[in-house]
């Protein structure tokens, strides 16, 4: 237990260092970009005085170290360390507020997608593992290779066409809820959770109805690599020496199944980590198509409007979330598999 604890502690420290590195990286990279934020602020045809005034108002004429200190919150005005990310140039609202509104939407989408993909991939992958080389296995292989290489934004559009336009089963892609309905009070920002907390089942159903197509699109694309990985892990576990030996000892089949499962779980976590980064990026496209209003869609708006503070805030938050997720996965892996630390 001692080695594992030390490993976890070291990993957390590395994670913190990574976060610090991230903050610095975001800060400097934005400033390294060739475009000039001041020019964006006042327009392309502004006079030199207006430009200079804009630069001054943005604090861009101060030395870099002072800018960094200001950004972090050391100069009296609230900065990063106080939880302030500045104000959006497009809306004027504090960016933290806007992110607080939009991030949960994306997280909800991702969580539902991962869960859905897992519910689909797990039985299929396991079934194929028990009959490797058979027709079901080969067919599933082709499917997963195909699904994993699809442009999800196109499939989203296609699903809208089929299920909304042709079949009229899905709602129009105009957001998370019917604009005429009454949304539940915002507690977590998750439509599903908030509706349940408010006992508002109409909103719950409506929310799920609107999420149906976006989640289905993501599940379709995600299931490809997930099926492949689950199947691979299962085949390896089922064919392993320790399963054979456990059977020879006459252990109950449920226990053996548990062994196989637990042993294939640890390598699964690595791939979940990889997929997660991929999914986070893909959320941008899906949110845009279905107008869900998540942080992905927000970031598109921020970028197209050259809203520098918003861009900075978004990148910071999303990458930080990724780092935390990787950290959690690494720790879970160590707790599951003693060989990792040893």
């Amino acid at each position: 237990m001692g080695t594992r604890f030390r490993f976890v502690a070291r990993r957390i420290v590395i994670g913190l260092i990574q976060l610090i590195g991230l903050v610095l990286a975001v800060f400097f990279l934005i400033r390294l970009m060739p475009a000039d934020p001041a020019a964006r602020l006042v327009g392309m045809n502004a006079s030199p005085e207006a430009l200079a005034a804009a630069r001054h108002s943005l604090g861009l004429d101060r030395p870099i170290a002072i800018q960094l200190a200001g950004y972090l919150g050391f100069l009296g005005e609230p900065g990063l360390l106080q939880g302030n990310l500045g104000k959006s140039w497009s809306s004027g609202a504090p960016i933290v507020t806007e992110i607080k509104q939009t991030l949960p939407i994306t997280l909800e989408l991702i969580t539902l997608s991962f869960t859905g993909a897992f519910l689909v991939a797990f039985p299929i992958g396991t079934l194929c593992a028990t009959r490797p080389g058979g027709w079901a296995d080969k067919g599933t292989f082709v499917f997963s290779l195909f699904a994993g290489s699809q442009p999800e934004f196109w499939w989203g559009v296609l699903f809208i066409y089929i299920f909304f336009y042709l079949l009229n089963v899905a709602p129009p892609p105009l957001g998370r809820l019917d604009p005429l309905g009454s949304p539940p009070a915002v507690v977590t920002g998750f439509i599903t959770i908030d509706s349940l907390l408010a006992w508002n089942f109409v909103a719950l159903a409506d929310g799920l109805h609107h999420l149906m197509l976006p989640v289905a699109t993501k599940v379709f694309v995600l299931s490809g690599p997930m099926i492949k990985m689950i199947r691979q892990n299962m085949v390896r576990a089922l064919g392993s020496d320790y399963i054979l030996y456990a059977e020879s000892c006459g252990l109950p089949p449920r226990m053996i199944a548990r062994y196989a499962l637990r042993n294939s779980l640890a390598p699964a976590l690595t791939l979940i980590g990889v997929l997660y980064g991929y999914v986070l990026g893909g959320a941008v496209l899906i949110e845009t198509i279905f107008s869900l209003g998540g942080i992905g869609q927000y970031s598109v708006g921020a970028v197209l409007n050259f809203d520098y503070p918003a861009i900075q805030g978004v990148v910071l938050v999303i990458t930080a979330v990724s780092l935390v997720v990787y950290l959690a996965l690494d720790i879970a892996q160590v707790l599951l598999d003693p060989r990792v630390a040893g």
Binding site: P34, A35, S149, P151, F153, W154, Y165, G281, S299
Partner: protein
Amino acid sequence: MSPTAALRRKAAAYPTLAVGVIIVTIVLLITLTSPWLAPFPPMSATPDVEAPPPDLIDVPGLLARAILGRLDKPVHWFGTDASGLDIFSRVLTAPRTDLVIAISANAISMVSGTLIGLLCGFYRGWLSELVMRISDLLQSFPVLISGMILVTLAGRNAGNIILALGLLYTPIYVRLARVETLSQRSRGYVEASRAIGLREIAIAARHVLPNALAPSLIQASVMVGFGILMTAGLSFVGAGVRPPTPEWGLMIAGGVDDMIQGVWWPSVFPGVAISLTVFGFASLGNGLERVYAR
């Protein structure tokens, strides 16, 4: 055994490789010959606006006449979009953007990533640790969003997309090359070469590098597919190439509003094109992996 029979045997043994090679070859051919294949100039509007593609029943007849050169005027095989641009010609010409960007970006990232990864794998030390940490950090940035930012701020053109993707994909190759190099270093034949008296540099160049390259090349095939998806995705949200450049993602984006109203052809055909192309690259990558693992 005759060459065709041998080829057929190989294709049967590695079906994904066969499928991948076929699809990729077709796409490459289209890329090269599209100026001659396209019936209409891809960026000039025609008077037919939002014209649907020909009915399925008419297609075989039209096709036969096209091959025999007996068409009186060129057909809009895939219909036209809201601006009157011929979709078929644009679908055929789009790979000149998509594929070129994807391949160039991957070329940059593969060369630089593999070199860095090789060096990091060979020379352990604080510098190589630092480089790996930076690479990891770079890799944790969300690719699409970072790509959007880089391209929009630097200017929306193909060259910048290539640079942005090249940068964002480099860490993947760095990690791959480093892992391979570390694994090769402890292989017996590296020691055997040392025992014979070969110098370290010669060992690296002649033994380690070629063996470490193979996984990178396999990965490259899959990554070109992802590059196409990324380019299309960027253009779709408006952070990629500018209209009216024919580009699959851009075309799909242009057809979204139409789709909701039932005009399906501007979005569907470019989507099918991407779908099959990326599947082809993924299949090729899978096939190469099987061959290499043998």
